[in-house]
């Protein structure tokens, strides 16, 4: 029931025009938990559809979390046709480009009524700059309330339509979003950083 292809066809039937706005994201790992990559504009609509569709009844939003994807260098082979000296031939070049980073909110949905799941929704914000806006799904699943506040606090995604968007764990005066991958806590007391493998990020290397 939670096969993404089946979901996509149901979505297309129920919400015409969603084909371009909802895509399949394939999980490379052995867990086989594929996801739906939802366009932020369509998120609320899709979420309501998933919750209320009698065949799906995804009434239980178990987990909401943010992921910070840093910009990364992607090396790929690009084949172009070039004309060198009147002769047209295909040239394959290695091109390195920087893929921009983005913030992502991931929702894990289950159905308590029909006992299936998980259906995973991924919403991608345009970039990593605050405020990275995404629509809030709290109006659909109340369980997202605290978790979206937590994402706002720790990742800096601002959820539009959230009834009470404040920092959840840290205090209001706090600056920055510490769960981002590039967050560095300022050294406050002049102590040398603790020399542990974990702090240096070189565990097991």
């Amino acid at each position: 029931m939670t096969d993404p292809d089946r979901l996509l066809s149901l979505l297309e039937a129920g919400l015409p025009g969603s084909a371009g706005r909802v895509r399949r994201w394939t999980n490379p790992g052995p867990s086989g938990q594929d996801a739906l990559l939802v366009d932020p504009d369509a998120a609320l609509e899709v979420a309501l559809f998933l919750r209320d569709h009698p065949e799906l009844q995804l009434d239980y939003c178990s987990n909401v979390t943010g992921v910070d994807w840093l910009p990364r260098e992607v090396t790929e082979s690009v084949t172009t046709t070039e004309t060198v000296g009147g002769e047209t031939k295909e040239v394959t070049k290695k091109v390195t480009r920087t893929e921009p980073g983005y913030l992502e909110a991931v929702y894990h949905l289950y159905s308590v009524a029909l006992r299936h799941g998980p259906v995973i929704l991924r919403l991608r914000a345009a970039g990593r700059e605050a405020p990275a806006p995404l629509p809030s799904l709290t109006p659909v699943w109340r369980s997202a309330e605290f978790q979206e506040r937590e994402i706002f606090d720790l990742y800096g995604i601002s959820f539009s339509g959230h009834p009470d968007l404040r920092r959840l764990l840290l205090w209001d005066e706090f600056e920055g979003h510490p769960m981002r991958k590039d967050y560095v806590a300022p050294d406050e007391d002049g102590l040398p950083a603790i020399e542990t493998a974990a702090a240096k990020g070189e565990a097991n290397r």
């Binding site: 603790i194 020399e195 542990t196 493998a197 974990a198 702090a199 070189e202 565990a203 097991n204």
Partner: protein, 209 residues
């Protein structure tokens, strides 16, 4: 839903019966009075009980006999970053196979025993001693090499089963090593002998050719 059959207040009386039973029971029934008067009586800790790590040494000298070879595996794996090892260097400045300093900050150690689990040399083990309260934070809370070193006899005393297993394993390894060395030497000797034989036979060779 059915009507409650009993009179109001009976539930309270039943509760008082339970506490009353416990009151009198604690004078007569040792299973009810579970208090262990700590400084005089102590709970017998199970063998696997762990608190902070210590270093095992064989033999009589707490420095020479340390099993630790300063491979720093535990330092890398320690989740709380409580271990600090400085490898010793010999007179030529080459790294030596023992630690110059080995410090465990018990103010940060969480006693997860991952160090003992990953140690390839059975050098670091978990102690069950828990009386470490101190008025200072620096010296008493950083256990250095001398303080960490405890004899294999001590290890046997606190964890007889585990220590015996470890000893057997180490003995087996030593035996294997010894066997391997013996075989190697045997092979070398054989080779030498063969070579000698060959050398001895060599002068004959040109004659043959």
């Amino acid at each position: 839903m059915r009507k409650l059959k009993q009179l109001p207040g009976v539930g309270l009386l039943k509760g008082m019966l339970v506490t009353g039973r416990n009151f009198f029971g604690s004078y007569r029934n040792p299973r009810r009075l579970v208090t262990v008067s700590y400084p005089e009586q102590r709970l017998l800790l199970p063998e696997s009980s762990r608190n902070f790590p210590f270093l095992v040494y064989d033999g009589n000298d707490s420095v020479e006999g340390l099993r630790c070879v300063a491979c720093k595996t535990c330092e890398r794996e320690c989740p709380s970053g409580a271990i600090r090892i400085v490898q010793a260097r010999d007179e030529n400045g080459r790294p030596a196979k023992h630690p110059e300093r080995f410090e465990i900050g018990i103010d940060a150690c969480m006693g997860c025993q991952i160090c003992a689990e990953v140690c390839p040399f059975d050098a670091i083990k978990m102690d069950s001693d828990y009386e470490h309260a101190a008025t200072g934070r620096t010296r008493p809370m950083v256990h250095n090499k001398l303080r960490l070193a405890k004899s294999n006899t001590y290890y046997h005393r606190i964890k007889p089963r585990e220590a015996a297993e470890v000893d057997a394993r180490l003995e087996m390894e030593r035996f294997r090593k010894e066997e391997a060395r013996r075989k190697r030497e045997e092979a070398a000797r054989m080779k030498k002998e063969a070579a000698a034989k060959a050398a001895a036979a060599k002068p004959e060779a040109p004659e043959n050719s």
